[in-house]
Structures are given as structure tokens and as C-alpha cells.
Subunit: 331 residues, 2 copies
């Protein structure tokens, strides 16, 4: 049963938008607010906008700040145990006191954590991974993020830097990745990675594709809805590239299955929201081919993420519940 | 302090030999016995030989069977929660009741588990990984085995099949592996994998190497001591192949670091016993190049295994301690 006297806030700080949700103890969203991040305003400017977004979400939910049990935050950075955001390339943050800055502005205890870890926790607690004991999440958008929940607990390592499943090397010496290395799964299974192949096929090999007109040369930032339309229309370059992405993703999925033996693997992010049904079979087939022993695949279910754009904010709620000693009391 | 009133037995059932050790509560070996496995005698024949080996080890240690708190067993097979050995290719076992057969013969509770998992637990408890919280072990011999200990607990997944770090795919579509797949790290970083390259370099490309005379065409089964001699003598084929193996192993090490963030990675097995000093730097360099984020490497130490041929038997002791509700009371 829901406990109406306990509330949580979850804040997703992204490169372009901030989203705050206010929930009850079961994770039901009672109110929310979205705001542009405007990272050009600097760290303090963003922190001020987070505080405004948080206050507006409380108003939207009709919940008093004093009724909150915890505030969780997901941010696109590694976060130390002291609440320092080590490096957020999208926000141009380096070693900034995220936890302290927000606690000062909100007047409450704040629990910040990496957005991919928190998004994975969101799907584990409230989404496509509900009921799992051990779960791995992959989120395919501009990059390939993800995280690992082992027996109910977020895996971060003592260093708090573990869980970067997008940078597993699946093709030694292969395609260049945004991280500087070669052959990471992200170099194939992300919009940035697929963008390299789109450019090669369309610009270098002069193959015909609707993307040429649609994306104005910016092949790494094609919207997922445009990919889905081209895919459905039989655009061969788009179909091949997405299927290749799904195959490579399946190899990384197999690696994580080999290592931690999850019961559920959740696939999410913009690309899977738009094209999940077209891709999930290929991911499963590739994972099945690459796991060892083969029988391990019988114990793993591949699920599409269900929380969409709310995954990180709801995951931040789940994280706040965990850090304040509560677990999600699901109905 | 040692507790002299508590004893354990650890049994390592390998493809060629059975080793039983009897230890005190601190893992000090008080007596042991080695016997040939003779798998051609079938499952019952091997079980009888295990029982003889066990009884001889008790005599060697001067310990009564009734003084044993637990008996752990490592076997080259996946083992179900019901104690069934699912598949041991080296012994030609399929779905055999390992636990029941041994309990009947020994008259004691027996705890069987996969030998690589148990070997990793051995190094974690008594060897090169002592003091770790989260540890990954890689053992490079004929194949590439290993396992993962996460916060003190063996990682097996609900299916009990997880932890197969040797079959992480690091080169999609690459060299054929003994498992049937392509590009597993074992296809490069094991004697079997290196054997393929030795053959290619020496037989196909006619490059000069002392292995040609030493191994009589059986390039996949060169003894580690012969590899070490050739390496030290400047044999280029051997040096290149071993360094390549270490580089590929480093990629798999990076993958496991990315996923679970261990504090220690232990490198063992025959090849590392013979050539650890020559290889560990390359493994570390390759791992550092392939982890993400790079800073994670600062929190990981690479250690050579220290238990040698006793790793599985001592790991079986540690497993018995764990399963009987004791932990190793190290001095």
C-alpha cells in the first residue's frame, strides 16, 4: 500500500534540461517541473536553476518541502563519496561540489549520483527491470550509457567509477570512440558511433539514404524519430547501421552476462524508445551467440526500458529512498 | 590466532590429477595427497579415487575425519545448486551427481563448485588477493579461466554459470576460440590460443623458433617452463605471441574493471607462474589504455597469484568455510 505521508524528490540534471519529479513512497509522480539547464550560466547558474525547478515541482505536486524524506540527484558525471562532480563534459564541470551547493540551496540532505547508474536503478525499481535481483541497463542515445545493479545494490566499485558498460572494448583496434580509445561498444552502438557509418556510407560511398536530406550533414545527431521513419521506409543504410549497432550491443550484453549473470538486461534510451521492437531481437541473438556457456542465456530476460525520459529522475528518487534507509514500497 | 580444533578438506578434481589438502581454520596445509584422475575409469571410478585421495590426505595430516568442519570441492564444470556437474569436457561428464556421489563416499557434507570460481576464492582468501574487497582472477594455462568475487562473495548469478571471464569477446569476428565462438580473449590469451599463432608463424611463415624442436608440432601444449626458456633466450615468435596474449588479456581485465571496479586483479595459472614478471607490465599497460574512465585504474592493483597448484584445493577449503558459516580466520 502507498504511504501518503512520505515523499521524495528526484532531480535529473542533463546537458540540455533539468527535470524534477515529486513522488510518494511508491514512486508515483505527484508533480514535476522541467527547465532548460543553460550550462553557459556556469555551475552556480545551473545550481540556481535546479533550486527553482525543485521549488516549482513542489508547488506542482502540492507537497511541502518539509514533508520530503529525501532528495536524489542524477548528474552526467562521476560523483565522489564526498558529493563532488568530477567531470561532466556536457556541462563543462570539473571537480565541483554538487552535493554541498544543492544542500545549501535546498536546505535538505541531497544524494547525488551518476545519471546512468541512477537511470539503471530507476528501471530496476520502477520500470522494465522490476522484480530483478541483478540487472544491467544499457541506454543508447548520443552515447551508450548504463549501469549494473548486483543483488539490489548499485555497482560502483570503491572508486565509484565502475559501471561504464558503454566503453567495453568489443573490437580491439576498431572504430574510434569519443573517449579516445578504439573499438568500444559505444563507437558502434550510439548515435555518435552510427553517425560515423552514416557519413561513410552516404558521403564517401554515395549510397542513397533519406538521412542526407534529413540531417543536413550532422549524421551524429539524427533524431531517433527520423531514424525510426527511415527504418520503416526501408532505408538500407539506416537498417544496416542500426542492425550492426544492435549486434555490437549484443556482444557487450554478453560480456556483462558472462561476468555478473543478471536476471534482466534493460535496453533503453532514445534509440530503443523509437526502435526497440526492431532491435531487441538482434541484440538477443547476438548476446546468445556470444555468451558462455550458452545455457546462461536461458536465465536472462531482455526487456525494454519503460520509464522513458523519467528514468533518471525516478532513479534519483529510488536512490534517495535507498540512501535514507527506505526501499521503494511498491504497491 | 589459529584454532587447532577446526579442520577443513579441500579437493581439486582436475583433468589429470586430484589434489586433496587438509587445513586448519587459518588455511595452513597440515597434510595433502595427490593422485592421478584417470577419467577413463568413468564417473564412479573417479569418485572412488577422490575418496581414496581424501582418506590418504587425512592420514598424512594426522586428522580424524570426524574433526572436519567442511569439505569443499573444485571441479572443471558448472555445478548447479543441487550439486550436479553439468558438463566437464576434460572428464567427459554430463549431468552427474557430484555432490551426492561424494557425500555417500566420504560420509560428510561436501560443497562442490566450479574450479575457476574456487581458485579465485582461494587467491582472495589466502593468496595474492588477500585484503581485497572485490577481486577478479584470471588463470592462464591451457585455457583462460577465472572468476569474480564481489564484496567478499563469489559471483555466479542465479544460474550459477556467471564468471566466465575467459570468453569475453574482445575482437568481434576474430580468432576462433575452443568454445566455437570467435574473438574470445581465451583465443589469444591461453596456450591453446597462442598455439594457433605459434603454428602460423613457425609452420606457415617458416619463422625460426626453438619451439619447433621443443614441442614436436603440438604447439597448443607447450610447457610453460619451455615458453619461459625461449622467452628469456630472445625467441621472437615466443616473445611477440606472449606479449600479444598479455595485451588481449589487458583488454579483458579492463572490461571487468569497467563493470565491477575490483580493488585487486589476480593473474595466475601456469603461464603467469613461469612468466609473470615479463607479462604483468604489458597487461597493466593494456588495461590502463582500455579502462574508462582512466582514473579508475588508480584504484586497481594487479597482483600475481601466489598459491600455484594449491589455489583450487585451498579455494575449496575457503568455500567450505563459507558454506559452513565460518570465514577464514587468518592469523
Amino acid at each position: 500500500m502507498m504511504n501518503n505521508q512520505t515523499y521524495y524528490a528526484g532531480i535529473d540534471i542533463g546537458g540540455t534540461k533539468i527535470l524534477t519529479v515529486i513522488t510518494d513512497a511508491g514512486g508515483t509522480i505527484l508533480g514535476s517541473k522541467k527547465k532548460k539547464t543553460r550550462p553557459e550560466g556556469g555551475f552556480d547558474g545551473v545550481m540556481d536553476r535546479v533550486a527553482e525547478c525543485f521549488n516549482d515541482a513542489l508547488l506542482d505536486a502540492g507537497v511541502e518541502k518539509t514533508a520530503l524524506t529525501g532528495v536524489g540527484v542524477g548528474a552526467p558525471s562521476a560523483i565522489t563519496a564526498d558529493g563532488i562532480a568530477v567531470h561532466a563534459p556536457n556541462l563543462d564541470w570539473h571537480d565541483l561540489p554538487l552535493q554541498a551547493a544543492l544542500q545549501e540551496r535546498l536546505g535538505l540532505a541531497v544524494y547525488p549520483e551518476n545519471d546512468c547508474n541512477v537511470g539503471t536503478l530507476g528501471e530496476f525499481t520502477f520500470g522494465g527491470g522490476k522484480g530483478a535481483e541483478t540487472l544491467v541497463g544499457f541506454f543508447m542515445g548520443t552515447g551508450l550509457g548504463g549501469g549494473v545493479i548486483y543483488k539490489g545494490e548499485m555497482v560502483r566499485g570503491k572508486c565509484r567509477l565502475a559501471g561504464e558498460v558503454g566503453h567495453l572494448v568489443v573490437q580491439a583496434g576498431g572504430r574510434k570512440c569519443g573517449c579516445g580509445n578504439h573499438g568500444c561498444v559505444e563507437a558502434y552502438a550510439s548515435k555518435t558511433g552510427m553517425g560515423r557509418r552514416f557519413r561513410k556510407e552516404i558521403e564517401d560511398k554515395k549510397r542513397s539514404s533519406s538521412l542526407k536530406a534529413e540531417c543536413n550533414g550532422d549524421y551524429a545527431n539524427v533524431r531517433s524519430s527520423i531514424l525510426a521513419k527511415a527504418y520503416a521506409a526501408g532505408d538500407e543504410v539506416v537498417q544496416e547501421t542500426l542492425q550492426e549497432a544492435a549486434e555490437y550491443l549484443g556482444i557487450a550484453v554478453a560480456s556483462v552476462i558472462n561476468i555478473v549473470g543478471p536476471d534482466i538486461v534493460v535496453l533503453g534510451g532514445g534509440v530503443f524508445e523509437a526502435l526497440g521492437k526492431e532491435l531487441v531481437k538482434t541484440v538477443r541473438k547476438s548476446a546468445a551467440k556470444n555468451v558462455f556457456p550458452a545455457a546462461i542465456m536461458d536465465s536472462v530476460s531482455l526487456e525494454l526500458a519503460t520509464l522513458g525520459d523519467d528514468a533518471v529522475a525516478l532513479g534519483a528518487v529510488a536512490y534517495a529512498m535507498h540512501e535514507t534507509g527506505h526501499s521503494a514500497s511498491l504497491e
